[in-house]
Amino acid sequence: MTAMFRRNPNKIKSGSVAVDVLLYVIALFICLITLYPFYYVVIMSVSSPLEVAAMNVYWFPKGFILDSYELIIRDSRMWWAYSNTIIYVAAGTLLNCITAVLGAYPLTVRTLKGRKWIIAFLLIPMYFGGGLIPSFLLVNKLGLYNTMFAIIIPGMVGIWNIILVRTYFTTIPEALKESAFIDGASHLQLLFKIILPISKPIIAVIAIYTIVGIWNSWFEALVYLPNEKLHPLQMYLYRVVVQQTVDLKLLSLEETRNAVATMLSNIQLKYSIIVFTTLPVIFTYPFFQKYFMKGALLGSLKE
């Protein structure tokens, strides 16, 4: 019996310095491998173009040249794309928040008939998509093809967001709702005057998910927006990267001449554009941070 309670001599004490050091080293290592790609892109974007083309830059910038940034800033297409992205993000985020709240609230009302069926039904499109061509046909027949709405409307309802918001709403004490009803509040008043003001963390979470998602998306634009003037920023980046990866060996003498010139000018540009397009969304995080920790855990429990 006593043997069972005897202390294991090899056991590391909690609060041991060895563990702390080990954990710090692991954390630091993970930190480094996460941050290095960002750092790499930044130093590539400011190094001398010749060194960049030779892929000689690894730890520190070689040379300090901001020409590629100058090129981007002067490019009107980039600013056009920037403003488009802001429109897509603003409209998309707002619509996502509205649809999430309006979609989630009824699903928390206990008196709603067939509530469980609706929730089950909502889960289906989370796992099964229509595929590219059916989606394309849908967008096309709705008359959205080659308009900004092709990006905004298909992405305005997020089932995952609805589930997140619903889970949060169910954590609000039923007594609060009942007392509001007793005081004569309608469902709309309850939602907008009572529930929404105390649901800021979850709104912040879905807002940032949506902002990041839309900011980084380019595929929809690739498929639905043949008009260059409607392209978002990431599509602009995509085009620069694709332009650069031309295989000269597949071209004839006539075509090679033009391709060589374009290819060289784009090597470094790629890195500068990545920096330019990523920074704004990185800066968004601190503003949402206080809500983020609390809200991000919400999806972990589903009732």
């Binding site: 083309a53 603003a90 046909l137 043949p226 650069q244 290819m263």
Partner: protein, 544 residues
């Protein structure tokens, strides 16, 4: 609470405002500026909608076309034919995806579409689904004879490579012909280039044999031709795919399989006499540190960088290239070499690019309402006047005659041309929506290159034997069965061949086990591939 409410209200108002603006703008922008824009004016004619990528020049823009005299001439051609054209232009980088989804969905198709982003098989499948029209009966019925004349007389090989196995024609092509002294075909050479200035600096004679070539490259390193104190003057060469000109010195075909055009035979370097000597030669180049092995199958940018750094002694490229020299920091010059003798009893071959090029695809879709107008459009395209405007432009403005041959007038850089508006049509509307049809001549090309390159070109175009750089252009389109067998074989065979050849060249595999390698190649279907391609080449030769 109040603060939170205010901020929400502000955001809502702002976003709605932006969305409203964007809503308006997306109603206008694509429809009015990028989507269908008429050729201009209020002309009455048969309307045609054309879809294609926005290729072309970044300074001389398609959007400004109305300001250019050459466009006005072109406009007259379409006017006379009674055609009113509308364009839908999609950025080149995006075109691939856009055309695939639109063709696959079969909806909102234009009348005439550029299908170059799709391979032959995909296009033939679309044709089977009825998305594309068979052009032959339409040409018979509606054409004024221009298309037939161009395809039968000037470019008979065009039909050979674009006729489907069931004898139908689903797409028109870009056509290019380069001649010398009026009608002599003028192929350009792909050859080894060597630093001319280094040969002169070190007083080394121009190599006349493969052995002298190797010694010259060694001497560049030993005597520090670029003067940076390091033995870093290298040969950039990929020994694995046989497509880099040195392989042809040993009489080898220019791919895993290659077409011997003169003898109408499909061959494989693996079965040719010079193959072992080729690998021995490569091993020697590797052993002496002449080939930069880090650049084998390296990215183009890395090679470009080496060239710029004044470190590339020799590489394989077009004999008439003029784009490498300006990038060398400190200057330099490349000299194209004639095929060098490597082995006794084997005549070294040249590698040539055919003077007749057929590429790109332009089809008429099922949604075309006025098929007659679509054929009329191609009648204009395949007229001599159109070809002249596209490649040469306007006489006295962009080209002139010198000794009976057309030569370009030097109108300066693209920026200068944009100001003076003196350009040929190709710069404004070539590729993309409008097919390229061009009758180039060598005379004009030779005025832009130094004498040593011109001399090389005149010699190489007469040279025999030769292999071609684009073997597939000499094969007819395979039927389903042939295609399936070919794809299956190529998947493994090309990888194995490339790896084997690279390892043999690097000395990582021994030539002693030769029979074993050949047995493996046979097992992977090399013989069967040669047989299929021979059938395709025979059919190519039979199509009239």
């Amino acid at each position: 609470m109040v603060k939170w409410k205010n901020s929400i209200t502000c955001t809502v108002v702002l976003t709605l405002a932006i969305a409203a603006v964007s809503g308006c703008s997306n109603g206008d922008t694509p429809k009015n500026s990028e989507e269908p824009t008429a050729t201009g004016g209020s002309k009455e004619g048969s309307k045609l909608r054309l879809l294609g990528p926005t290729k072309g020049n970044k300074i001389i823009k398609f959007e400004d076309r109305e300001q250019y005299p050459v466009w006005k001439e072109l406009d007259k051609l379409f006017d006379t034919a009674g055609l009113e054209l509308e364009y839908e232009r999609v950025p080149t980088e995006q075109y691939d995806v856009v055309i695939k989804t639109r063709m696959a969905s079969g909806s909102s198709l234009p009348d005439i579409v550029n299908l170059s982003a799709l391979d032959d098989t995909t296009v033939l499948n679309l044709a089977k689904q009825g998305v594309l029209l068979d052009l032959k009966p339409l040409i018979e019925k509606y054409s004024n004879g221009n298309i037939k004349k161009m395809y039968d007389q000037d470019f008979p090989f065009a039909e050979k490579t674009t006729t489907s196995p069931d004898g139908k024609l689903y797409w028109f092509s870009d056509l290019h012909k380069k001649t010398y002294q009026q009608n002599k075909p003028a192929p350009v050479g792909l050859t080894m280039l060597i630093r001319k200035d280094w040969l002169e600096k070190l007083k080394i004679p121009v190599p006349a044999t493969a052995d002298e070539y190797r010694k010259a490259l060694k001497a560049f390193q030993d005597q520090d031709a670029n003067g940076n104190g390091q033995k870093d003057e290298v040969l950039v060469y990929n020994p694995g795919n046989f497509a880099g000109s040195i392989a042809q010195w040993f009489g080898l075909g220019s791919g895993v399989t290659a077409v011997d055009v003169e003898n109408k035979k499909v061959v494989s370097p693996w079965y040719q006499d010079g193959i072992k000597d080729y690998f021995r030669y490569m091993q020697q180049l590797v052993k002496e540190g002449i080939i930069d092995t880090s650049l084998i199958s390296g990215r183009n940018e890395l090679v470009q960088q080496k060239i710029a750094d004044n470190k590339v002694a020799s590489l394989s490229d077009y004999n008439l290239e003029m784009w490498l020299e300006p990038t060398i920091i400190g200057g330099g010059e490349y000299l194209p070499l004639m095929p060098l003798k490597a082995v006794d009893g084997i005549t070294p071959a040249a590698q040539l690019e055919d003077p007749y090029l057929v590429w790109s695809k332009y089809g008429i879709t099922k949604d075309a309402k006025d098929v007659e107008a679509a054929i009329k459009f191609f009648d204009v395209i395949y007229s001599e006047k159109y070809a002249d405007l596209l490649y040469w432009g306007i006489e006295g403005q962009t080209y002139t005659f010198d000794g009976g041959a057309k030569v370009f007038i030097d109108n300066g850089t693209d920026e200068d041309k944009e100001k003076s508006k003196l350009v040929s049509g190709g710069a404004i509307y070539g590729d993309g929506i409008f097919p390229r049809v061009q009758f180039a001549n060598l005379e004009s090309e030779l005025t832009n290159v130094p004498k040593h390159k011109a001399d090389h070109q005149l010699a190489i175009m007469e040279y025999k034997p030769y292999y071609v750089n684009m073997n597939h252009k000499y094969l007819a389109i395979p039927n389903d069965e042939q295609l399936e067998a070919k794809t299956k074989i190529m998947n493994n065979l090309s990888t194995y061949s490339l790896e084997l050849a690279t390892k043999l060249a690097l000395g990582q595999k021994s030539l002693d086990d030769w029979d074993q390698y050949i047995a493996e190649l046979k097992k992977l279907g090399l013989d069967q591939l040669i047989e299929i391609e021979q059938q395709l080449h025979d059919r190519y030769n039979q199509i009239q």
